[in-house]
């Protein structure tokens, strides 16, 4: 599960989290007690949204590349430097 989350857990973290998550899931299981087996109730759909009349909504301007790269961990000549993707053949 940690791998699916793209997390690397220590043994101590695994042990602690496993117990905590088990408790939380046990609490969540109370949902089964509430189900009646009948047709599920559904809320009313929200009121139809009206688009502002007579106005085409223009897309907002894109983030300038330079501003985006200000936060990049690594960049070079205007491009983001990305770690190598290794594909098993």
């Amino acid at each position: 599960m940690a791998r699916l989350c793209r997390l690397r857990l220590t043994a101590a973290e695994e042990e602690c989290l496993a117990g905590e998550l088990a408790d939380i899931l046990a609490y969540i299981d109370r949902l089964t007690l509430l189900e009646t087996g009948g047709e599920a109730e559904t809320p009313r759909p929200p009121a139809p949204r009206e688009a502002p009349s007579g106005r085409a909504v223009a897309p907002p301007p894109a983030l300038p590349r330079r501003r985006f790269l200000d936060n990049a961990p690594q960049h070079e000549e205007g491009f983001l430097v990305v770690p190598e993707v290794r594909v098993e053949r």
């Binding site: 997390l7 809320p43 690594q74 993707v85």
Partner: protein
């Protein structure tokens, strides 16, 4: 001139500045001095934008002198929870992962505050990525409750709440997913508002659970909350979930009282968790509503007992997806490793705290093959049933009433080793979040330790006018209009 912010409301500041009777710069100077003198005791702020705030306030005064109107929040000092983008300023979300990250644009709510003449005083602390109910999960500092330093300010908007309660600013913006504006408002003796789903744009709010997140104000007075909400609410083409209904003037009719209003108390709501002073305060709050002319009746919402369970499936499922973007590749702290996958794993593992990891794991699990139906789909049905039942109840009454929290602020460290106990802090705030309904927390009294307690009122969709009117009537009846904020010692913090 030095303004005493413990007595000045946002409304009074704006009115005074617009008339030229009050200097925005003097107000800002007083706030800055106060924060410098006292924030060490409660740690609300991650960053104080002193020079920028003073400069901006000065420009507002210049505009007024030229006969211009800076706007309905002219000169009002505001603090921002640090998950709201403010262009050109650091945005950390209380996480090591984003330390040093600079927001490239401003959130719509922030833009609207600025357009209304507000003065941004600084960034406030929060539980990491807004995941928490005590602000103890921030990786960047400790925030204490100004009422009692050994207590939590609530969370996740704890820094914002502490800043307002301490008298640093009259208004702060927070975010509320399952109670993160209302619960810290309750713990700090403040007014906190979560509006109808889609009423306030989420553009520029770092996403936790997109179907639940809402930007909302924390203030010392209901009228200030109404003023702030009017400013930030409204359609935004940059948020596809925004409602298009026009925004009314929430101050209009706010003093009209609640004679004849029907207030529902949910039979299945777990108010048996209330103890001592909290239980007594809850009963007294209902009696007070009756004294104000409201008719308090019982309603039934059976699915309310499943709300916390459903919330933690749905919110964390969405969070696991929303936080996938934090991979150290395009932004955030990148750890050096051999290849792409290793970089992502290492960056996330080093950058996220325990609570964030726990929620990502839970959210991923409930969406995973073999478990999705048993958890996620079941929670979706539960949330839909709850929403339907709350809507049906609100066809028979005008508002619903709950306690905002099970009691006053708990001690620091009391629940950090028990995640489930922490999650149950939000037992009363979660239902309106799941149902997308507006809710306001308003101070109601004090518990056995002298800490603030709070009443939560919930309205129908877009029912903010009635909600705020009721909150105002209740506030007036309690006499709780000024928070006894933390004051600097004599001689400290003066900006005369």
């Amino acid at each position: 001139m030095s303004a005493d912010l413990t007595s000045l409301s946002a409304e009074a500041i704006a009115t005074g500045v617009r008339r030229g009777a009050l200097s925005a710069r003097a107000v800002a100077e007083d706030c800055v001095a106060r924060v410098r003198a006292t924030d060490g005791t409660h740690g609300a702020f991650l960053e104080l934008l002193a020079e920028e705030a003073l400069e901006r306030a000065g420009r507002i005064d210049e505009r007024v002198a030229l006969g211009e109107d800076p706007g309905p929040l002219a000169g009002v000092p505001v603090a921002l929870k640090d998950n709201l983008c403010h262009a050109g300023h650091e945005l950390t979300c209380g996480s090591r992962f984003l330390e040093g990250h600079v927001a490239p644009y401003s959130a719509t709510a922030v833009e609207r505050l600025l357009a209304a003449g507000a003065v941004i005083l600084g960034r406030t602390n929060l539980d990491e990525f807004a995941m928490g109910s005590s602000t103890e999960r921030s990786a960047l500092g400790i925030t204490r409750n100004p009422w009692d330093r050994e207590r939590v300010p609530g969370g996740s908007s704890g820094g914002a709440a502490a800043a307002v309660a301490a008298g640093d600013v009259p208004l702060a913006l927070g975010s509320d997913t399952g109670g993160s504006v209302r619960q810290p408002a309750a713990f700090c003796g403040l007014v906190g508002v979560k509006a109808t789903r889609g009423r306030v744009s989420r553009h520029g709010l770092v996403a936790f659970a997109s179907s639940l997140d809402q930007v909302g104000p924390l203030t010392r007075r209901v009228r200030d909350a109404a003023l702030a909400l009017r400013t930030i609410a409204g359609h935004d083409p940059r948020d596809a979930t925004c409602v298009t209904a026009p925004v009314p003037d929430y101050l209009d009719g706010i003093e009209a009282g609640i004679e004849g209003l029907r207030v529902g108390v949910v039979r299945e709501s777990e108010t048996d968790v209330l103890r001592g002073g909290a239980s007594w305060d809850w009963q007294e709050s209902l009696e007070r509503l009756g004294t104000l002319g409201a008719r308090v009746v019982e309603v039934s919402v059976p699915w309310i007992t499943g709300a916390v369970a459903a919330y933690h499936v749905l919110a964390n499922a969405e969070a696991s997806s929303n936080l996938a973007r934090f991979d150290g590749v395009r932004y955030g702290r990148r750890r050096v490793a051999a290849d792409y996958d290793s970089v992502v794993e290492a960056s996330r593992s080093a950058g996220f705290g325990a609570e964030v990891k726990r929620r990502i794991l839970l959210g991923t699990f409930v969406l995973s093959a073999g478990y999705r139906e048993a958890y996620y789909e079941r929670a979706r049905r539960a949330a839909a049933a709850l929403e339907a039942q709350m809507e049906r109840a609100l066809e028979t009454v005008d508002l619903l009433a709950f306690p905002t929290a099970p009691g006053g602020a708990f001690r620091r460290g009391a629940r950090t080793d028990d995640p489930l106990a922490m999650y149950l802090s939000d037992i009363f705030t979660i239902p309106p979040s799941l149902a997308g309904l507006p809710a306001v927390a308003v101070p109601s009294g004090r518990d056995d330790d002298g800490l603030p307690l709070s009443l939560q009122l919930v309205g129908p969709r877009l029912g903010e006018p009635t909600l705020l009117r009721a909150a105002r009537a209740f506030e007036h009846a309690t006499g709780w209009e000024v928070t006894p904020a933390t004051k600097p010692a004599a001689g400290e913090g003066s900006a005369a």
